[in-house]
Amino acid sequence: MNPSVEALRAAFGSAIGRATVARDGETIVVVAAPHARDVLRWLRDTPGHAYAYLVDITAVEYRDRERPIEVVYFLRSLERRTDLRVKIELAPQDELAVDSVVSLWAGANWLEREVFDMFGVTFREHPDLRRILMWETYAEGNPLRKEFPLRGRFSRAEQVRQALAANPEAHYSLDELSIADAYHELPPDMRERLRKGERGKIPHSE
């Protein structure tokens, strides 16, 4: 058991849930969602622990739906060569939202965007939270959720049609569209569609 857990309990008391040892010998500590960012900042900044290296962020959804979805932070202290796994449990029925840690580790930016894309967990105050692996106007939902079928919700023909029929602005993020707009380079029809907010809808043929 990692000594950081006692220090955490001393510092945050009830915010720290149960702590177990995983099969690979690393310590897992469950933290309450509202205090998660403070706990992570504390772990990163206190000299005795100095978990300055964020190895990975991911989410886990179990096969039985009652179990909460877990957002897992893999932390590592390079000097002390020790690892710690911090988990936040989100009950599936209430809102899937967690505080973003991009302000603590810059490496978390894309990792959180991928968890948002694949699981639908929103990260509050993330600088640029949008889909990263699927295209931004992807309409079939979050692929790694257990209720998402393996071959996707639409028929194959519809998937091909949606992929081919996306409007040009669907290939660009709003950030880039605003840059182009700043230089008056958006074609009028695209600006019209953007003003009407039609960026997501794919023109249906029937």
Binding site: P168, H171, Y172, L177, A180, Y183, E185
Partner: protein
Amino acid sequence: MHQPYIAFLLLLAFVAANAVLLIGLSHFAAPRKPTPTKSAPYESGMPPLGSAHERFSVKFYLVAMLFIVFDIETVFLIPWGTIYFADSSAASAGGPGMGFLLAEMLVFLLILFVGYVYVWKRGAFEWD
């Protein structure tokens, strides 16, 4: 010895004919099937955003001009070189003396060197 220019003109004519033939043949014989996507600019498979007609910083134009000046300078050296470094038969055929040829080219190079130093001191070579 017939007029030396015939050979040169023949070469020029052959080059021109060759160019016209190649471009003309491919212009008429090649299958041309324009479609809206094909005529759109190629940007690695993505629909382009914004036009390519941008106002660029003036430093690019400046570099182009400097290049032309000093490139043409070297172009002038080539014909001069063929005459200057040819065998001494040119001097004996009543042409201008070797010394004069050298002096003339040195003056030419000096003028351009003054221009080079001026441009250098004005900082045109600083890129950003």
